[in-house]
Each structure stands twice: as C-alpha cells, then as structure tokens.
C-alpha cells in the first residue's frame, strides 16, 4: 500500500514534473497568465495523461519496441484532439483563451515521458496512480504560478479582485518575463525545500 501511495504522491513534491523534472515548461510558462487558464490547462493535461498512459499500459505487450514511440504519439494525439474538440464545443470561452496550447499538449514531454518511462513498464493500476499524481503535480504547479502572476499582474484571482483599487498591476508579471521570474522562484524554493530534507 505504501509503495502504491508513493507512486501517486511522488508527482507532487519529489518528482514534480514542472518544478523538479523541469518538463512541460512551454505550456507552464505560456498559459499561466491567469489562474483559470492554468487550472483548465492542468485538467486537460490530467485527462490526456490518464487516458493515454492507461491505453499504453494496456497494450504494452502488443507493441513492438521499434514502433512504440510512433504508437504512443498517435494515442496521445488522439486524446489531445478529443480534449480540444470537447473544450471548443462545451467551453468555447476557455478554449479561446488557451488558444493553440491545447493542441500543443501533443508535444508536451510529460505525457510521452510518462508513457515511455512508466506506463510501458508498469501495471495498469500503478500507471493510473502515477499519471494521476503527475497530472495533479503539474496542475498544482501551474495553478500556483498562474495565481501568483494573476494576483501581481492583474490584481485579481479567478477574475475576482483581491487587491485594493489603488494597486498598480505589475504588467511584467503577465508578460513572458514574469513567467520566468515566477517559475524561477518556485523552482528555487522547491530545490531548497527538497534538498533541506536530505
């Protein structure tokens, strides 16, 4: 049980995909201009990650190793397209604000990474735990970065004003430079926190 729980939990701190493994940084930097965008992106990644690693884990014995990357990519692309169509049809507003970053989940290395490094070698149950943990870790990192940037850059969180009217928004925080500043601080904090425990 402890071992299983570890597969789930490791995605949050020890092996957080964004803050420790530094994977999937392109969407993490690009869509975190607001907390809503960050959360939606996180949920879309959880969906794609869970579905594709599940399928990969189910068919792992059938796929010859020479074509595994090609097969994984097709599987990932399928679920990304489904997520994209779903958002377009039922959440057009959010789909618009995420722009091209939903289709770009295809090339998010967290997903191919988990398929290749974990799902293709592990049992279905462990794969689900691992993907869920990694997806939550990704969402968690994006949500914190998104909230941080939205509060400082627009004075709001989830579009609700939290800072007084007199606050002059720091525009730089919603520009790409703000993403690097925010992420750098988070990675630094994470390193300090994880290293200290050792």
């Amino acid at each position: 049980m402890d071992k299983n729980f570890f597969e789930f939990k490791k995605g949050f701190l020890q092996q957080n995909p964004v803050l420790v493994q530094l994977l999937g940084l392109c969407p993490a930097l690009a869509v975190t201009t607001s907390a809503v965008n960050a959360l939606t992106m996180g949920l879309a990644v959880i969906f794609v990650l869970l579905s594709s690693t599940f399928i990969v884990s189910v068919i792992k014995r059938l796929v010859p190793s020479q074509v595994r990357i090609a097969a994984f990519t097709v599987i990932i692309a399928t679920f990304v397209t489904i997520a994209d169509l779903f958002l377009k049809a039922w959440f057009p507003q959010i789909s618009k604000s995420l722009g091209p970053y939903v289709p770009l989940i295809v090339v998010n290395c967290i997903i191919l990474g988990r398929c290749e490094a974990f799902a293709s070698k592990s049992s279905i149950f462990k794969t689900i735990l691992d993907s869920f943990g990694m997806g939550m870790g990704f969402t968690f990192a994006l949500l914190i970065l998104g909230s941080f940037r939205e509060i400082l850059g627009s004075g709001t969180i989830f579009n609700i004003a939290v800072l007084p009217q007199s606050y002059q928004p720091m525009l730089i925080m919603i520009l790409p430079a703000g993403a690097f500043l925010g992420l750098g601080m988070m990675v630094g904090f994470m390193n300090f926190f994880v290293n200290k425990k050792k």
Partner: protein, 183 residues
C-alpha cells in the same frame, strides 16, 4: 520479417482505431461548435444593436454584412464582419453602423490570439467603447498618448499599441471597402 509485419499491423491498428474514435467525437461536437459560433454572432449583434429582432445576411466583397431589423421590420443599422492580422494572428471583429452608415455605433472583437493580459484587452469593453460614435466618412487614427487625440481617433491600450492599431486599421479597411457599396 515477422517483426516487420507485426510493426505494421500494430501501427495500422492503433492509427485506424484512433481515426474511428476521432471521427465519432468530431461528429458529436461539430454541430455544437457551429452552434456556438452562430450563437456568438447573434449575441454580439444583439449587444451591438439593442432591440434587434432579425437580420439578413449578404456578402459584399469578402465581408459578411448583416442588415439588422427590429421587431417592426424597421432597419436599425448594419453589422459588418471583418478580419485582419493583429500582433500575433488573425483578429475577427464586428462593426455596427447606424442605418444611414454615417456613425459607428460599436465594435466587438469575436476572435483574437493577441498576448494574454495585454493585446487581448482589445476585446474588453473599455477599449471597444472608444470606437463608439466615430464617423465613417474619415479615416480613424490610433494614438499612443491622450494628448495627441484628435477628431475621429482612438487611444491605444498601454503596452498593446500594435494590437490597438491593428483593430483601427481593420475597421478602416472594412469601412472603405463596404460603405460605398451599401450607399
């Protein structure tokens, strides 16, 4: 040889299953996506033209022109759908004109991929409201600072001068293309 055959069969199976799945999802969501776009245009028109009841569409050059009527079939004005390039990609917008085509009664951005938090603010009402009441007879100019504002001009959004100027140039081009044809 056996491996080669297996590779091909597995990849073909994965790809065709994915094709079937996508065709199914696309068939389910396609009509919903189209409906969203249509609803959005209707909602935008009713916001731009209070009292809107029905509209007729015609194509002039590459523009869609909606003639908008109220509940008593009286013409309220026109709405033009125009598009052009912005800072990062295409901007699609609607321009509402009064019935004699002389005054812009409002604009609305329906699609843009400008920088979130900066250029994307062109879709906010504080910016689109700046186009209200401008004349169609003269070119609309876009200025950075409030001091240089003159007749028929709008002030650009701070940090998004290019996006703001793109909107005004899309509006200018649409007006000079369409208004003479309607008159």
């Amino acid at each position: 040889m056996r491996v080669l055959l297996k590779m091909n069969i597995v990849l073909a199976a994965v790809a065709s299953l994915s094709g079937f799945l996508l065709a199914f999802v696309s068939a389910k969501s396609d009509f919903k996506i189209k409906e969203n776009q249509k609803k959005e245009i209707e909602r935008a028109i009713s916001d731009l033209m209070p009292g809107f009841n029905s509209f007729a569409v015609q194509d002039i050059k590459s523009y869609q022109v909606f003639s908008v009527f109220d509940g008593f079939s009286k013409q309220l004005g026109y709405v033009l759908a125009a598009s052009g390039s912005g800072y990062q990609g295409e901007i699609k917008l609607l321009i509402a004109l009064n019935y004699n085509l002389e005054v812009i009664t409002g604009i609305r951005i329906i699609e843009n991929v400008e920088t979130p938090g900066l250029g994307a603010k062109i879709a906010d009402s504080f910016f689109t409201d700046r186009f209200k009441g401008l004349k169609t007879s003269a070119k609309i100019s876009c200025f950075k600072s409030q001091g240089s504002l003159s007749d028929n001009s709008v002030q650009a959004i701070t940090g998004a001068t290019i996006s703001s100027a793109s909107v005004s140039s899309i509006v200018n081009r649409a007006l000079s293309d369409v208004v003479p044809e309607l008159k």
